[in-house]
Symmetry: C2
Subunit: 340 residues, 2 copies
């Protein structure tokens, strides 16, 4: 898959930053490839990028309009179609992370054919997978998990990969969702894989490797989310993580999209450990990644310190204070083996 | 979906009864619709039905060749293709429960077009689903779960439904796999649903109903199977069972297709209860369904008695001794509410 930058990020009529997490993620991790945002009337959020029409963006060099939206069910809203067609007519390719395929909409498909533009559906798995084998694979794997959806699993994985790369680790980030795939240019849109093959897809994504090699795998959903827990469980089993990091946002009252309370950190750690032991008996929680953006600096620091003492593992906010302590923990729990 | 009987059951080159569980199930539950079996050289199993070629079966009135096979990954073997084409040429429709679609094979697709025959892929979901909502629904639900795949979850559900019907319950059997769909004529091939929608599909399949209505839902896989546990978890969450029955086959050494031991009944009961409580806090194990086919009658009786005493719930072999005690348990745990 090669989706050509620079990007114009489409925010549609989004009213909630979480529903545009793909746009936020792409801009955060590839800022130099994003040259504007395109919003519809009623849109209540901003990336802080200049507002551009597709034609303006094209004249500035943009190649692709990215649908930066992630709604429940991944449906393409009728309200967005005219804007997408407008972008095609302006000469842009389209990239979408929605479940519903771009070419399922007649006017989009016809415009793309007429103007010879490419429609990228990054959430359509591009291959078939085997069922999971549950067999042991050499190499090290870190998985991010969370108390909820949209709670920092992808940012945490990307931050840890960046820090590990900086320290000279042999490490690969493995995207499992549309945002991560758009950021890194590859991966598996795991939530769109037929459930029979989800752990097999996770095995394929993090294959056998050298004993000192790390895959840092983007987590999905939550073992405690009534809509998506099957995805999380299949990912845990297939990725057989040696280490996992629990992501959380204090103050969030209910899980995303449903009227359920968030599970406690204790419950997540103990249940992920328990189910993870099925395919990796040594799986262990090596850190907590907390979104402290709603706290003052001193309050965030003291909150993280308290968690670190309570759970006896590093507690970080990778976006605010970095994630050095988590990579320290990796170095201390998993000393590199020297070549014989 | 209307797949026309009578059926000729295709066993291919199967060497293991479990790999032909669809054929066995269809013949067991719809014997009057099955008029023969069609086997390739090397096939080591039999249903006890007469062997017929497609042409012989057609002359006897058969309408559909059913691929009664269920291999890991649901792949259509090259070895079966000539036999399928032969059946099409003889004037039969084809019904398949494999993941791989019949029309993905050129020669099959072309033969069906030429001879104007229907290709039924019962494992292709025929609709889109919403994501699970986790919301409470009126009505009662019973789910079968198991220590492994292919261990009696479907037969147990069908036997319980039959016994409940006999006692005048308002009850529906809900198929979640290819065999159940072929037997009952409807249902959702849950393992082929994109994982994001698996609990939503289970919710759709067992909708809100009258308080005295029961859905008896065919279980899938096992919470402890490294290949498929995500499917089981999504089904548990979506079906929010009031009651569940654990299916087991004593003496089975490893889980189907992988080198993993089976979990204990205790572990299955406690873990299904725990994860099930997320969407139904009152979920409870009301019985054990044991495949005792490898035991003598007295040994089977004493084994079931011992389990019933140990777990303080009925333990039955529905195929051998019926499942009256389980339905007794349903009547005692869930007394019918009278209309006011």
């Amino acid at each position: 898959m090669s989706i050509e930058p620079p990007f114009l990020l489409f925010l549609g009529d989004a009213s909630d930053p979480l529903s545009a997490k793909t746009a936020f993620g792409l801009y955060h991790w590839r800022p130099n490839d994003c040259l504007g945002q395109y919003r519809l009337p009623g849109c209540k959020i901003t990336l802080g990028l200049p507002d551009r029409t597709p034609l303006e963006a094209k004249l500035l060099g943009a190649s692709t309009l990215v649908l930066g939206l992630a709604n429940s069910g991944g449906v393409l809203s009728d309200k967005w179609v005219p804007a997408i067609v407008e972008a095609i007519e302006a000469g842009l390719d389209i990239a979408s992370g929605l479940h519903q395929e771009l070419n399922s909409v007649d006017t989009i498909r016809e415009a793309a054919a007429k103007y010879n533009r490419i429609l990228h559906d990054v959430r359509r798995p591009s291959r078939f997978f085997s069922t999971g084998k549950g067999a042991w694979r050499e190499g090290k794997r870190l998985l991010t998990v969370g108390t909820d959806c949209s709670i920092g699993k992808n940012y945490t994985a990307l931050a840890i990969e960046r820090e590990m790369k900086g320290r000279g680790f042999d490490v690969d980030y493995r995207a499992t969702g549309q945002t991560g795939i758009l950021i890194s240019g590859n991966g598996v849109p795991l939530d769109a894989v037929p459930v029979d093959f989800v752990s097999g897809a996770a095995e394929w994504l993090s294959p056998e490797a050298d004993d000192n090699h790390w895959d840092v795998i983007e987590g999905q959903a939550s073992l405690f989310h009534p809509s998506y827990a099957g995805l999380t469980l299949g990912l845990i089993h297939g990725s057989q993580p040696d280490a996992f990091v629990v992501c959380h946002e204090p103050g969030r009252k209910t899980m995303r999209g449903v009227d359920y309370p968030l599970p406690s950190l204790e419950n997540v750690i103990s249940e992920v450990t328990k189910v993870g032991q099925l395919t990796n008996p040594r799986t262990t929680c090596i850190g907590l990644s907390i979104n402290t953006s709603k706290m003052s600096d001193p309050r965030a620091r003291s909150y993280l310190d308290r968690l670190a003492r309570e759970f006896r593992i590093p507690a970080v906010d990778p976006m605010r204070f970095g994630c050095e302590e988590i990579v320290d923990q990796i170095e201390s729990c998993f000393p590199k083996r020297k070549a014989p």
